[in-house]
């Protein structure tokens, strides 16, 4: 007598819904021990995809519908009524398997083949032992706890890979077949410091780390991470008691992030990150506009070392201190190792464009509410003295030459509002003449420190910088839709165009080399110019939208900011490879 079990209903419920404790594909359902035959649909994980095939269980033996099995392997099963034979046939790779109900003898491509379990017929269907037939068809079949795992091409291959978890290597074992890789959940959990429990009755897998709980079932794509449903691209399975699953899914469910072979256990730092500066070859200082703070970031583990309650800090040349001006205009220096903050004097005038002296004992700044002066603050005495007090307003982009003898800045004069009346109640016009930004150079060794104009052209001038020999480069642009910026090099009193008509995203000088981020047809490229050889090299290209660059003064790494939907993230270009530091 045949009895239909509601296995299909159970399987579909698992396919559609989330795995819940107590929901099971109970193995004994299929392991009928009586003389009665039981039919059901048997859950199958085929190359990571879920399916069910008809099965017949009799005397503790499970047999599977030959036509269903054949279909999994892109083969056809036909019945030869005259000879009462079933034939599984595939054209490529070619194979012909002839089977008969009740016969242990089969023919494979015309040759004898012995079956340990004879096929059985039920209705029009032939039920067969799936394992040898799957292997004959070029794959592999393995059933455990009432679920079969099937490779339709090749056998299961064990592998081990080394992944970096927060910068430390861990070996993760896995099983691969049909170009799909499944990773040991035990190994992943161990690297996360999480515990794994596999319920023997229900096959439910539970991974716990602190308050985080991840639940999944071997016959479901759905994963439950702290009550939140996630979908896995491939269904997990259990083999010899070890759950295997899609690695990125488990990592993300545990709160981690993946970048290449790197796994950030607590996830990459989220939120807007800007203004990367190199503290040393392994540490970045980044600004966090979301909460007006800064972070020290270890680029090996990609984790935060410390948070600092100020943003847009200016790093000292040795990377040990950082300076900032608070909302009251007071100047502070923070020791990055000890986190000790020191106020420099009590001057509360507006200070912008902080620039460290080469010896790290002074800070130059644009000074005054109208940015009308240049001052220098002594870290030793706390005194702030004006160096240039020519009352010319709106100085910006202060730079100090590498030898510390010259200052460079830009001035864009204010426009003048003209009125029709003496009481100045009715605007007539805005006079914008003389408002073009110009570069000025100051010789700090001269007694009067008189600013000398370097330019007189009407173009915008940004990203000005000194080269090692006190020569100057800057990006020039005009307010013409058709014209693109140029990179200018001022040397020996003459101006030379290094790059013409390019969409220059950023230009920075580090160790006397000029780093330029360019955009061409949506591709962002970082190029490096060596003034000594007058040659350009390319550091790397990406389709990601680079918004700024910060080359390391310590090695050949380049930190960049990249536009994201929510703001900016920080990445590093290292040996041609782009590595995300935040997200």
């Amino acid at each position: 007598m045949k009895k239909i079990i509601a296995g299909a209903v159970m399987a579909s419920a698992l396919l559609a819904g989330s795995p819940l404790p107590g929901t099971s594909l109970d193995g004994h359902v299929y392991a009928a021990t009586s003389a009665k035959s039981v039919m059901s649909r048997y859950p199958v994980n085929v190359n990571g995809k879920l399916a069910t095939i008809r099965s017949l269980h009799h005397s503790g033996v499970a047999l599977f519908a030959a036509s269903d099995l054949a279909k999994l392997f892109s083969a056809n099963c036909t019945y030869d009524k005259a000879h009462q034979r079933y034939e599984i046939r595939r054209t490529s790779p070619a194979i012909r398997i002839v089977l008969q109900a009740g016969q242990n003898k089969a023919f494979v491509n015309g040759k004898h083949f012995s079956l340990s379990i004879a096929p059985q017929r039920s209705g029009k269907e032939l039920y067969i032992d799936a394992k040898p037939i799957a292997e004959l068809l070029g794959g592999q079949w393995q059933a455990e706890n009432g679920i079969a795992v099937v490779s339709t091409s090749g056998s299961f291959r064990s592998f081990s890979e080394t992944w970096e978890f927060d910068g430390s290597p861990s070996v993760i074992h896995g099983v691969a077949f049909q170009h799909v890789s499944f990773y040991s959940v035990y190994d992943i959990a161990a690297a996360f410091g999480a515990a794994v429990h596999v319920d023997k009755k229900t096959s439910m897998v539970k991974v716990t780390k602190g308050k985080r709980t991840v639940l999944f079932h071997p016959f479901s794509y759905t994963l439950n991470a702290n009550g939140k449903k996630m979908t896995m691209p491939i269904a997990p399975f259990i083999q010899k008691g070890v759950p295997y699953a899609d690695l990125p899914s488990i990592v993300r469910a545990l709160g981690g992030d993946i970048d290449g072979r790197f796994i950030a256990i607590a996830g990459l730092i989220k939120g807007m990150s800007t203004h990367p500066q190199w503290v040393d070859q392994n540490t970045l200082l980044i600004s966090r506009p979301d909460d007006s703070t800064s972070l020290l970031l270890d680029i090996r583990s990609r984790t935060a070392i410390r948070s600092i309650s100020q943003m847009d800090l200016t790093l000292s040349p040795d990377g040990k201190q950082a300076a900032y001006v608070d909302e009251n205009g007071h100047l502070f220096v923070i020791d990055l190792a000890s986190n000790v903050v020191k106020q420099i004097g009590d001057d509360d005038e507006v200070k912008t464009d902080l620039v460290w002296s080469n010896d790290g004992r002074s800070l130059y700044c644009i000074y005054g509410s109208n940015n009308e002066a240049v001052a220098v603050a002594s870290l030793d005495t706390g005194s702030i003295n004006k160096l240039i007090d020519d009352k010319v307003k709106y100085k910006t982009d202060l730079r100090l030459s590498p030898d510390g003898t010259k200052l460079l800045y830009t001035v864009a004069n204010e426009g003048k509002t003209n009125y029709t009346d003496d009481q100045k109640t009715d605007v007539d016009s805005i006079d914008t003449s003389g408002t073009d930004p110009q570069l000025f150079l100051v010789d700090l060794s001269s007694p009067n420190k008189q600013p000398t104009p370097l330019t007189s052209s009407p173009d915008n001038k940004v990203d000005s910088a000194f080269l090692s020999n006190n020569e100057i480069v800057y990006v020039s642009a005009i307010d013409d839709e058709a014209a693109r910026p140029s990179l200018k090099w001022t040397r020996n009193g003459e101006e030379q165009t290094l790059l013409a008509d390019q969409n220059i995203i950023d230009a920075v000088v580090v160790k006397s080399r000029i780093y330029v981020a360019l955009e061409t047809n949506g591709i962002y490229t970082i190029r490096i110019f060596d003034p000594s050889t007058k040659s350009w090299t390319t550091a790397g290209s990406t389709k990601n939208e680079i918004t700024s660059i910060a080359p390391s003064p310590y090695d050949n790494q380049i930190a960049v900011t990249i536009a994201t939907e929510n703001g900016e993230k920080v990445s590093i270009l290292r040996n041609g490879r782009w590595i995300d530091m935040t997200k």
């Binding site: 943003m311 509360d348 509410s369 007539d428 805005i430 013409d480 839709e481």
Partner: protein, 286 residues
């Protein structure tokens, strides 16, 4: 952040919701990935001048093809200049699309709220008075209190400094402090100045002067007095404990477009709002 349209993405949602124009604006932003070029002329409020100047400095780094000229005079010059077409953006300490303090509503302009501005009642740094009630300030500006000893200071005549008509700071002072009480605009000890900088100079150079200015200007030879015992700080203004504050607006003729839109978006971006804007003693609006 350098030359990019990134900040546009960030500010798009903010600006969109502020303008209640929904997703269309955001879409427009993202489609506007090409380089922005053109000339921006910003005229108006001197209270907002430090903010617009700083934003202009930063914006030019990311938008080298945009030329920006800033001219600070008075708030009323902002909407006037835009309405007349001599400036592309007007800076004003009130929403000039509505009639305020005797000034008409400017039709056809679009107002973008960019910052909360804490203002301060200021005295010379050497003045011993550190706190005044709203009532005392009203009485001083009405001419009812004329000597510092009447409010706990020295026996010296009070010199009242006011901003000229058209000043946004004056509009906010009349609105938030004077509350309908008329300022006595005559007498030997009454003086009007044109700009915020002039106000600072007038009070810092006269030990008996009293005036008002936005908090960003309070430094050097002047000090802010507490009002009703509450210190003039951005934190107190942000929480509402401190009563003397207003809002800064940028105005454009119709919806902001091109470089103007990009500039306003930059000011509304989280980076600027939480960065330079706060350091200049303004309070973010988002």
């Amino acid at each position: 952040m350098k030359r990019t349209t990134l900040w546009k993405r960030m500010a798009a949602a903010v600006l969109s919701s502020a303008l209640l124009i929904g997703a269309a604006f955001t879409t427009q932003h993202r489609a506007d990935a090409a380089e922005v070029s053109g000339k921006i002329v910003i005229a108006g409020s001197t209270a907002l001048l430090p903010l617009t100047q700083q934003a202009a400095k930063e914006f030019k780094k990311s938008h080298p093809k945009v030329k920006i000229v800033v001219s600070g005079s008075s708030s009323i010059a902002g909407p006037q200049s835009v309405a007349k077409g001599v400036a592309t953006i007007g800076a004003c300490d009130w929403d000039a699309t509505r009639a305020v303090g005797g000034f008409p509503a400017y039709k056809g302009l679009k107002a973008y709220k960019i910052a909360k501005i804490p203002f301060a009642v200021i005295v010379n740094k050497n003045n011993s008075v550190d706190n005044l009630s709203v009532q005392q300030i009203q009485d001083i500006y009405e001419g009812k209190i004329t000597n510092w000893k009447q409010v706990g200071g020295k026996d010296e005549e009070i010199v009242v400094i006011n901003r000229a008509k058209g000043s946004g700071t004056r509009v906010n002072f009349e609105d938030k402090i004077m509350d309908g009480h008329a300022i006595k605009t005559s007498g030997d000890n009454y003086k009007e100045v044109q700009k915020s900088g002039d106000m600072v100079n007038a009070v810092s150079s006269n030990p008996n002067a009293i005036g008002f200015v936005d908090l960003a200007y309070v430094k050097g030879g002047i000090k802010a007095v507490s009002i009703n015992g509450v210190k003039a700080t951005t934190a107190n203004a942000a929480s509402g404990k401190y009563v003397f504050y207003g809002y800064g607006y940028l105005l454009t003729k119709g919806e902001a477009k091109g470089a103007d839109k990009a500039f306003i978006n930059y000011i509304l971006s989280k980076k600027f709002q939480n960065g330079s804007l706060k350091k200049l003693k303004f309070i973010p609006v988002k």
